[in-house]
């Protein structure tokens, strides 16, 4: 019934596809390392309890101390500050000429990441014009572990990268891929979430989630009395940077006798409003704790709509929260997850290519915004959209303020 010519065309269509599979060059997908990942170095991937307890006393204590630590470097450039500690010797990477950077990004699916991405690209412009970096190729994994692993493998095989910058989507899953990147012998900079291996040249991050939890819970406990009710709004379960925040806060609330109830909101303002309204219907809510600033406005509006007095609140340095804070005059503080950390990886690479020593674990400052600084930060970020983060650290970069005001994505 079918034409022979039709068959021929279909075969011709299939032939190149078959040719794809016939290529048998040397195996480009190499085996993962045996030793490093076979025996888990840390207990992060421990397989025992299903419902993991995220609280880690030693990490908690370390971060608690780091809250009051002195940072090396110029306070006017917080994205270059670090806590003194072991340094990595990068003299073997020193080389002249512009280099190509390959960036495996977890995603730009929330306003925090979008703000950081814009800042990073402006920083890239500066380094391009000074001849440090020739280009930065980016692959966006859209919050998918499997995709990000493939992205890193692609970079290793095809990218001709002189350096890798990786913002891992999740800690355990990306560990092997990062190790494969380390094996290429090129510098590897990991920032934001970490991985369970010590092979990267440096791991850049602010102090951490436990410090956030301590800062916020201490603030709320100081302003409230024992027995007061606090509603804790959490975005998602299972993300370690977020889980650490709640683990520390929960501990302190329990110690100080604050009744804290936590809910997952998915960062949906509708959900947040419903949760708060329902809580207000059953009793008085004196404080609101958030593990991220998205939707803080909706929470406050729930109080306004119910006609109840506004709570003591901790949000984040997102502009929507800061403006609402100023507008309503509530007692509040804004913890930060230092958005300026998006500048540091490229600046670290600049140092690496010069052969300068850099901290093996680059701990950036994480200073919350308190009431006395609110006006300064609002002024510095005037005209910025509500999803912008005050501590983006890019005031001295080209394009300030238009690029951030208009959220120009590359």
């Amino acid at each position: 019934m079918r034409n022979n010519s039709v068959r021929a065309i279909a075969l011709a269509a299939a032939l190149p596809l078959v040719a794809l599979t016939a290529c048998t060059t040397e195996p480009s997908v190499t085996q993962t390392t045996g030793a490093g990942t076979g025996s888990p170095a840390t207990n992060g991937a421990a397989s025992s309890p299903a419902s993991k307890d995220w609280f880690d006393q030693s990490l908690y204590d370390t971060q608690n101390q780091q809250r009051s630590a002195t940072f090396e470097g110029d306070p006017q450039k917080p994205y270059l500050q670090y806590i003194a500690g072991p340094m990595t010797d990068t003299s073997k990477y020193a080389a002249k000429g512009a280099k190509k950077v390959c960036f495996a990004n977890a995603s730009i699916s929330n306003p925090w990441r979008q703000t950081g991405w814009i800042t990073m690209n402006q920083q890239l412009k500066v380094l391009k014009s000074s001849g440090v970096i020739s280009e930065m190729e980016t692959r966006d994994a859209k919050d998918n572990d499997n995709t990000q692993i493939a992205d890193i493998d692609y970079f290793i095989a095809e990218g001709k990268c002189d350096a890798f910058v990786i913002s891992p989507n999740s800690t355990a899953a990306l560990t092997q891929a990062v190790e494969r990147a380390c094996q290429t012998g090129k510098p590897v900079v990991v920032f934001d979430r970490g991985v369970e291996t010590k092979c990267p040249t440096t791991f850049i991050h602010p102090i951490g989630g436990f410090a956030w939890g301590i800062d916020t819970a201490t603030f709320l406990s100081d302003k409230l009395k024992s027995g007061d009710k606090v509603v804790a709004l959490r975005i998602l379960p299972g993300v370690d940077v977020l889980e650490h925040r709640w683990a520390a806060a929960k501990k302190i609330f329990a110690e100080k006798g604050i009744q804290a109830k936590d809910y997952f909101t998915g960062a949906d303002p509708t959900e947040i409003k419903k949760i708060i309204s329902d809580e207000l219907a059953t009793g008085d809510v004196k404080g609101v704790w958030m593990d991220a600033g998205d939707g803080a406005v909706a929470a406050l509006e729930a109080f306004e709509d119910a006609g109840k007095p506004l709570p003591v609140m901790t949000g984040e340095d997102e502009m929507s929260f800061l403006t609402k804070w100023k507008q309503t005059g509530i007692t509040a503080m804004a913890p930060v997850y230092s958005n300026f950390q998006w500048r540091t990886p490229l600046l670290a690479l600049e140092k690496i290519f010069k052969g300068e020593q850099i901290p093996t674990e680059w701990v950036l400052p994480q200073k919350p915004i308190l009431a006395d600084e609110l006006d300064t930060w609002l002024k510095r970020n005037q005209g910025m959209p509500s999803g912008h983060y005050a501590k983006f650290g890019g005031e001295d970069l080209p394009g300030y303020p238009q690029v951030w005001q208009q959220r120009q994505m590359p």
């Binding site: 279909a10 076979g38 991937a45 095809e158």
Partner: protein, 345 residues
């Protein structure tokens, strides 16, 4: 009808899919070359084929389910659950690998059986049954697993990381599963009954076919293949994760790949090869867009438009080619030509 349309009409849906795949390939070669890379380099091919593996397993299963006239929206959660069971049971011990694999696929089969029974016996539409079961599993995962869990041993992780040349082992396993599914559809009684039930369930029933069996079989196989996707992900990630399935959006994407491959959404007509073509098109598109560093938001726009346009291309084609029963010019034999005698008046 002009000649071009006539030629087009005679191609089967599967052949059209592969023509579209060829067009995408050519587009890819041109675009990738324009930035100085080769589309056919081992790294690029490996990246494309890796992108076909996980979606491929799920899409094969989805094809069987859609052929039977049902749908499966629970696949992302089954995949996540499978990765957790696999990584949890294996717990970095190579001796547990076989047991882990069997337990994972067994659990997936039981879930598929439950779905199949709900669809076939309780007469619940597949959309709702699998949406419901998916939500049930989702709640269980969210409550009990707060992050990655378990660890797969090195020997098992090799499956996700090695390949024959640029072809990953996982792709080969996936193609083998596709082959088995094709055998099932074209050479076994269950397969033929599947087509019959999907085509018209009432006709199938009155023809004497037990309509429950093909539907339940399709759902069981679909869930088992989703379990295999979970195993593959556990191998690649090294751990199990409760969100790995939903991260990939595999439910809607697999349905899109199946329909793109020429299978009718109402069931009864379609091929596995068409689905594989659809999966390949998606993988190539993703690869091209990543290499060209297209803005991630625009990637979704391209995907959405491609899905609709590609399906529109062959949706209007006559499904069953049947010769005209009545001649275009009225002839004496046609009943319509005879005037109907008016009644009464």
């Amino acid at each position: 009808m002009n000649r071009r349309a006539g030629f087009f009409q005679r191609l089967s849906a599967t052949q059209i899919v592969y023509l579209v795949a060829l067009a995408t390939l050519i587009l890819g070669v041109l675009l990738v070359n324009s930035i100085g890379r080769s589309f056919f380099s081992p790294g690029n091919i490996s990246s494309i084929l890796t992108g076909t593996s996980v979606l491929g397993f799920i899409a094969i299963g989805q094809t069987l389910v859609i052929l039977a006239g049902s749908l499966d929206l629970s696949v992302p959660y089954v995949t996540s659950l499978a990765s957790l069971i696999a990584a949890g049971v294996m717990a970095n011990n190579p001796n547990n690998v076989l047991f882990g694999v069997l337990l994972t696929l067994g659990t997936a089969a039981v879930i598929g059986l439950a779905i199949g029974l709900i669809v076939a016996r309780l007469n619940v539409h597949g959309f709702i049954a699998t949406l419901g079961v998916g939500l049930i599993i989702s709640g269980y995962l969210a409550t009990n697993f707060k992050g990655s869990f378990g660890e797969t041993p090195f020997a098992f992780r090799l499956v996700g990381a090695t390949g024959l040349g640029p072809v990953p082992i996982s792709t080969i396993i996936m193609l083998a599963c596709a082959g088995l599914a094709m055998l099932l559809l074209h050479r076994t009684r269950v397969g033929h009954h599947l087509y019959a039930v999907g085509g018209d369930i009432a006709v199938a029933r009155t023809s004497g076919i037990r309509v429950d069996v093909p539907v339940i079989t399709a759902h069981v196989i679909c869930s088992v293949l989703a379990g295999m996707a979970g195993l593959l992900l556990a191998s690649r990630l090294g751990v199990g994760s409760p969100t790995v399935g939903s991260q990939g959006g595999y439910d809607l994407l697999s349905i899109a790949a199946v329909v793109l491959g020429g299978t009718l959404l109402s069931g009864g007509k379609g091929t596995i090869t068409g689905t594989l073509g659809g999966v390949l098109i998606f993988a190539m598109l993703d690869n091209i867009m990543s290499v060209m560093q297209v803005n991630p938001f625009l990637k979704d726009v391209v995907r959405g438009v491609v899905i609709v346009v590609a399906v529109a291309v062959y949706a209007r084609r006559r499904i069953v080619s049947r010769p005209e029963r009545f001649a275009a010019k009225g002839s004496a034999e046609t009943p319509a030509a005879q005037p109907v005698p008016a009644e009464g008046s």
